[in-house]
């Protein structure tokens, strides 16, 4: 048996493999085996802080307006002596977080031991290193040579109008609300070409982009790295050449932050997100729109509880400082391995926005489902998940909850402009209450699409006209039956509301899979072709959302956690029979039909 021979060579091979194992994380970096650590420090005793010097006036006013203290403990700077100590016992300092009184650094194992023994250090936890493999890449962009992306079809123009109109954009415009006086921070993968795009000509001419910072490269320029931010920005403040607004907040000021690398999903980006949220707070952001989410490469679905990830905790802190954080729910609804919202959309105080199909008014396949891992309602609201957005060289139809989020962020800006004294969480609640299904909810649509008319009615204290019941509950021996009331059925029949003929056109083929948040891409230009002369242009009325013929119902337990929900297409009065054996005492059966939510508590 040649053991000595084996042993001699095997030790070298093993050593080589071990070395590569340790070195792999640091591939591409000059230094040797180091890991990334999150060093939490003990205190901020004795640090000096002048909020007037640190915060932008807009940030100070935001706090004042919401009756928040001028600053709190989390705003104080990290003690310089502590940073020096961490620097001395680490390879490099990556980021210093005031909010968490922590330093992210790269250190060797020996340095880690020394770091942990420092009196100033409360706890050291390892930050996972960046995975070597890129996340699932998108299919190659299909060339659009020969297609004029500035030429829009009637259906595309209709979609552009619809994406704001379904939120009540017209009502906001009539009320003179366009987000003026608000600061909206956008965190994204890059805003390549946004400064040159005709959709933002007015925005840049009016110097509405007040600050920008690339947290990946640490430079102020963000107009590179990817076009996703351009598309997202257009759903807030973009315009078509004819002046049609693609979003609701062209009057707001913008802070643009690049926090993400295209085609990568690395933990470093969470630190960048955290750095950006502190930057946004300092620069007076009222609203943060984050069309980003972190999912399976870092977390498990059961960790989507709003407490696990660093970004979720940072988003919660932002909410406490009076910032409304609006985040896309995620594009993993059709991913059997994930399905739920990503983080930070999982955070309790983050307004998570799902995607609605403009054609049907229902949840889009890819839009992530709730609830959160701790059974809270997610997504909170929804908006179109298929939109017309500015894209390089023109405009494109594009799918993703990334674009529903800025639509709602724009809605929030208009609402906040109208009620400037609201706190962020009061606004959060008002947006939910204004939504089309409220008080009904489910884990696909949340409370539905926010409605400007409902919100403005709330603020004007206008009492809503009492509406007649639309369904009856009848408890039978073994079933709870739900019937549509005869007079309502008659009304629906006479209205003859077709389900599809008032839609925006037949080109709404939502792709079976949509890329992860931040990586969505425009549809090929074929969808933007102008209709031929022989094809009659689809001149459509806006679809009534939710559609008149839809009936939504759910069974919630005593805590409001849903056990089952459905959307039915109504074709007869006897609409529903629920076996009573499936209902427990304390459950509530809710039915939403024709704008009215009916509840039937189970005793």
């Amino acid at each position: 048996m040649p053991l000595p021979h084996f042993a001699r060579y095997f030790q070298y091979v093993l050593l080589g493999l071990l070395t590569s194992f340790v070195v792999l994380p640091a591939w591409g970096q000059a230094s040797a085996p180091t890991h990334r650590y999150w060093v939490e420090l003990r205190d901020k005793a004795g640090v000096e802080f002048n909020p007037a010097a640190y915060f932008h006036p807009a940030a100070q006013v935001r706090r004042l307006r919401q009756h928040l203290p001028a600053f709190d403990q989390t705003d104080l700077p990290v003690k310089a002596t502590y940073i020096v100590q961490v620097q001395a016992y680490s390879d490099s300092v990556l980021f210093v977080s005031r909010w968490f009184n922590a330093v992210a650094c790269r250190a060797t194992a020996a340095q880690l031991t020394a770091l942990a023994k420092l009196p100033a250090v409360r706890r050291v936890t390892e930050l996972p290193d960046r995975p070597l493999l890129p996340t699932a890449r998108l299919p190659a962009v299909r060339p659009v040579v020969g297609k004029d992306k500035m030429t829009l079809s009637t259906a595309d123009r209709q979609l552009a109008r619809q994406q704001t109109r379904t939120l009540g954009g017209d009502a906001f415009r009539r009320a003179g609300l366009d987000g003026r006086g608000l600061r909206i921070a956008i965190f994204d993968v890059g805003f390549s070409g946004a400064d040159q795009h005709p959709a933002f000509r007015e925005l840049f001419a009016q110097k509405k982009v007040v600050a920008s910072y690339d947290f990946v490269r640490h430079v102020p320029d963000v107009f590179h790295g990817g076009t996703h931010g351009l598309e997202v920005l257009s759903c807030l403040a973009g315009r078509l050449p004819d002046g049609t607004l693609l979003g609701l907040a062209p009057g707001a000021e913008y802070l643009l932050a690049r926090t993400e690398r295209m085609h990568r999903e690395v933990y470093a980006e969470e630190l960048d997100w955290l750095a950006a949220v502190e930057w946004a707070d300092r620069n007076g952001a009222d609203i943060i729109n984050s069309s980003l989410g972190y999912t399976s490469r870092r977390y498990f679905p059961e960790e989507m509880n709003g407490r696990t990830s660093l970004v979720a905790r940072a988003a919660e802190l932002a909410a406490r400082k009076g910032i409304l954080v609006v985040n896309a729910a995620g594009n993993d609804g059709d991913n059997e391995d994930w399905r739920t919202v990503g983080t930070p959309a999982d955070a309790d105080s983050v307004l998570a926005v799902g995607g609605i199909n403009p054609e049907t008014g229902l949840h889009l396949d890819f839009s992530a489902y709730g609830p959160s891992a701790d059974r809270r309602l997610k997504p909170n609201v929804a908006a179109f998940g298929t939109v017309l957005a500015a894209s390089p060289g023109g405009y494109s139809r594009i799918d993703g909850t990334s674009f529903a989020s800025p639509l709602v962020a724009g809605f929030a800006a208009c609402a906040w402009q109208q009620q400037r004294t609201l706190t962020a969480m009061a606004l959060f609640q008002q947006i939910q209450e204004s939504a089309s299904l409220y008080p009904y909810y489910d884990y696909a649509h949340g409370y539905g699409i926010p409605q400007a008319e409902a919100l403005l009615r709330q603020t004007q204290q206008a009492s809503k006209q009492p509406q007649a019941a639309t369904v009856n509950f009848v408890a039978q021996d073994s079933v709870l039956a739900v019937f549509i009331r005869p007079e309502i059925a008659q009304m629906v029949l006479t209205q003859q509301l077709p389900l599809y003929t008032d839609s925006i056109g037949g080109s709404d083929e939502v792709p079976s899979r949509v890329a992860p948040l931040g990586k969505e891409e425009a549809r090929p230009a074929s969808s933007l072709e102008a209709p031929s002369e022989t094809t009659p242009a689809v001149v459509a009325r806006p679809p009534a959302l939710p559609a008149a013929s839809y009936l939504y119902w759910h069974v919630a337990d005593a805590k409001g956690v849903l056990r089952r929900y459905e959307v039915l297409e109504v074709s007869q009065r006897a609409i529903l029979r629920i076996p009573r054996r499936t209902l427990l005492p304390g459950d509530v059966v809710r039915v939403f039909y024709q704008g009215i939510t009916h509840s039937y508590p189970i005793k």
Binding site: P131, T360, D365, L499
Partner: protein
């Protein structure tokens, strides 16, 4: 109408339509049973159990004995296997592979050749087809989600050689252009190989080094035939 429902939801629809107790002749556009839709799986790259198919090619490396020189680069083992991994904790897993391995040694046709005969041919090879079982301990680096991540595997393997073949090709100057001869069931090759190995990987890719502890030749032929190289080093790609 475009498809707006997930497969699970579609199942719900079918159930709903077939079961008039719960719904009553209505078209279900969206259905969710929250309890079943939010079950967290136990199968996945970083779940309790994971398995996947993988392919590998590991060229033979290391020194051969005098008289049994091989052609490097052409000699190697191709493997196709099923890897089963059981997670014990975030950094520690164990696993068991079952694989088919085809190990080929292309013999150099030198003047001092002894294996299996001194006769020099145009081309000559020994091939062993085997089934192998491999146990491994996996050490993972760093916290991660439901992904394979970076890892180091320490492995021990054993196998059964189900077929052996000695292939010879000659190019005679007269007669047929090419003459191929196959000899199977070679009595001088061991049937039960075993060894150890190590594997370092990231995601679907892994660099593998394996060392054969068992001898190639049965004891009665060991004096006649110098041992063949024991090392194979190569790459594996997992079908995750």
């Amino acid at each position: 109408m475009k498809r707006i429902l997930k497969p699970a939801a579609a199942l719900g629809i079918v159930t709903g339509l077939l079961c008039p107790i719960s719904t009553y002749a209505q078209r279900v556009l969206l259905h969710s049973d929250v309890a079943t839709d939010t079950i967290y799986g136990s199968f996945g790259p970083n779940r309790k159990f994971f398995n996947h198919i993988y392919l590998g090619y590991l060229p033979v490396v290391g020194k051969s004995g005098v008289g049994s020189e091989i052609r490097y680069g052409s000699s190697g083992e191709f493997m196709l296997g099923l890897r089963n991994k059981f997670r014990l904790s975030e950094p520690l897993s164990i696993g068991l592979d079952l694989r088919f391995v085809r190990l080929s040694y292309l013999l150099s046709q030198t003047d001092h050749k002894r294996l299996p005969t001194p006769v020099v041919h145009y081309r000559e090879s020994l091939a062993l087809s085997q089934w192998q079982l491999e146990g491994f301990v996996r050490l993972n680096a760093g916290a991660r989600g439901n992904v394979v991540g970076r890892y180091l595997d320490l492995t021990g393997w054993g196998g059964w050689v189900m077929s052996t073949a000695h292939r010879v090709e000659d190019r005679p100057s007269a007669g047929p252009r090419r003459v191929q001869t196959n000899e199977r069931g070679l009595p001088y090759l061991r049937r039960w190989p075993y060894g150890v190995g190590a594997r370092v990987g990231s995601g679907r890719y892994a660099a593998v080094a394996r060392y054969r502890l068992s001898d190639t030749f049965t004891s009665s032929y060991q004096d006649a035939y110098p041992e063949l190289p024991r090392w194979t080093v190569g790459l594996e790609i997992g079908w995750l």
